[in-house]
Amino acid sequence: MDIDLSYQAMTMTAKQFGEMTQNFIRETAVATGAKKAIDKLTAPIWSWGQRNAIYPLHFGIACCALEMAAASAPRWDAERLGLIYRSSPRQSDVLLLNGWISAKMRPTLRRLYEQMPAPKWVVAMGECSVSGGPWYDAYNVIQGVDTFIPVDIYIPGCPPRPDAMIDGFLKLNRKITAENRGRFLDD
């Protein structure tokens, strides 16, 4: 729908009218350069908020789950980085995969990933989820989660120490900063 149709506004449904107005605002913003200016101001704010309140899904799979627990325990205290585990995929933005994925788990995991709202990131922790790890010839283990969901950060180790996990999340911080998502008038 473009601006030329504006004279038909009286005969439009409410939805069509809304779309038309949105498009009009967007095109004007891009044409006048206002979008560029606002982006420059707001995107850092969005990404600052995103990277300082990373809510991973509370999803312990295997060995590395204990290191995940140890990371939130007193010695490492991952909560100071804003890592607060949420139990529902609807409330979290990072899927932390800490263990091998079996063929029986694969469809469920894919569904968990789909259930998370965007923007979302995936962290593969430990050799098993990075590449299959010690179970490279097992008949029931998926050789790396990146075969079916996109992975942002790989934390190698079997299991990685909590320090390594925190380092991985700091890397994710930098990635979010670099991505600078959440622009004005973008989905």
Binding site: A103, K104, D137, A138, Y139, N140, I142, Q143, T147
Partner: protein, 158 residues
């Protein structure tokens, strides 16, 4: 309530082995007796009777494990049945022909054998007659193979 204490063994290994052997002379064959361990071979037909006798008369209270082994020409199902009162564990070997791997289920006697038998069915394809709920437990329902058999080749599956 009182604590049930098993501090001294009631019977020695030889006594237990002799009791079982003399009750079922044709069915049971004692292979080896070591301290706290009896290994015996039992024919498939009389297996359930032997188990019932072991549970009721010789106080074998606990089924530790059910292990199917694929010896290429036949299957052997190994039952580890422990007796708390006598401080020993019996290793009961039952040979099954490869084309008809069927054996009586011991789940009605020891409830602990339930999931072990399901697992043996799932991974090895041994069928337990009289099991209340013989389904696949580890692998997804739609799988067609029994991976622990020696003729199953492991390849990289993705």
């Amino acid at each position: 309530m009182k604590v049930i204490i098993y501090d001294k063994p009631d019977k020695s290994e030889e006594e237990v082995a002799k009791a079982i052997q003399s009750k079922f002379p044709g069915t049971v064959e004692i292979v080896k007796i070591t301290p706290r361990n009896i290994i015996m071979k039992v024919k498939r037909e009389g297996f359930l009777d032997v188990c019932m006798y072991m549970k009721d008369e010789v106080s074998f209270e606990h089924n530790s494990c059910v292990t199917p082994v694929d010896y290429l020409d036949h299957f052997t199902v190994v039952y580890h049945i422990s007796s708390y009162a006598n401080h020993l564990m019996a290793e009961v070997l039952v040979d099954l022909p490869r084309d008809d791997p069927t054996v009586d289920s011991i789940t009605p006697l020891w409830g602990g054998a339930n999931w072990h038998e399901r697992e043996a069915f799932d991974l090895m394809g041994v069928i337990f007659k009289g099991h209340p709920d013989l389904r696949r437990i580890m692998l997804p329902e739609e799988y067609q193979f029994h991976p622990l058999r020696k003729d199953f080749q492991v390849g990289r599956r993705v």
